[in-house]
Symmetry: C2
Subunit: 107 residues, 2 copies
DNA sequence: TATAAATATTCATATATTCGAATATTATTA
DNA sequence: TAATAATATTCGAATATATGAATATTTATA
């Protein structure tokens, strides 16, 4: 499948993977270090099945990887550049919000 | 609208904006410098209306901004960090592809 | 082996996105 | 002002995505 896609489609797939608030919250948790499905579920107050679904998306697109220990599955961010890219976008967002509030407060 | 959303939703919106192959191709063109709708349409071999639709998405989410000159509209990337974030993701992608081809060639 | 805990999957419904086709708007120029 | 060029918008159909509910799978332990 991956081989049939051009670089822009693959790139879009990565962005699509990040384009969900809950997946971003999960990734934000995982920036602290690896975490099990249940911990994520509890910390984020989101149903286990739902967390699991999103982790599946993240995993199949290579954004996170796993380590199994007994019946626990520990998830972690597979490439630190993912975190960097996310943080860069976060900066853009902050700047954007600040600019906007400047404009609003000028009126 | 923006004020009603939390940081993760806004972040997801940015990612969503980048999560389309054609929009990424447009942004890739715009990395060379500002460009009109028609030039983009011609360079990318995509219908003008379609390019215009995607530019509208990019603009309303603050990723690109415009400069008008007569009946021409010049589009450019509004924040260089967007480009950096895109390029970082591209690096992740390249690494991912390389790792995958290693795995494939080992079999 | 029966039970429980942790995780994953499937299905259905609701919602969002994409594109082409058609058409509208805006600005220039004959 | 009529015609043309550049750009934008609207609509509908096809496709993709997200969620909850229900259930299945896997692993550990009594």
């Amino acid at each position: 499948m991956v081989e049939d896609k051009d670089i822009f489609e693959l790139h879009a797939d990565i962005c699509k993977t990040l384009a969900n608030p809950l997946r971003l919250r999960i990734l934000s948790e995982l920036q602290q270090g690896e975490c099990t499905v249940n911990s994520l579920s509890n910390n984020l107050k989101v149903r286990q099945a739902n967390v699991s679904q999103h982790l599946s998306v993240l995993r199949h697109r290579g954004v996170v990887s796993i380590r199994k220990d007994g019946s626990n599955v520990y998830y972690k961010i597979s490439n630190p550049k993912i975190t960097k890219a996310c943080n860069l976008m976060r900066e853009v967002l902050i700047e954007y919000i600040q600019d906007n509030s400047k404009i609003i407060s000028n009126h």
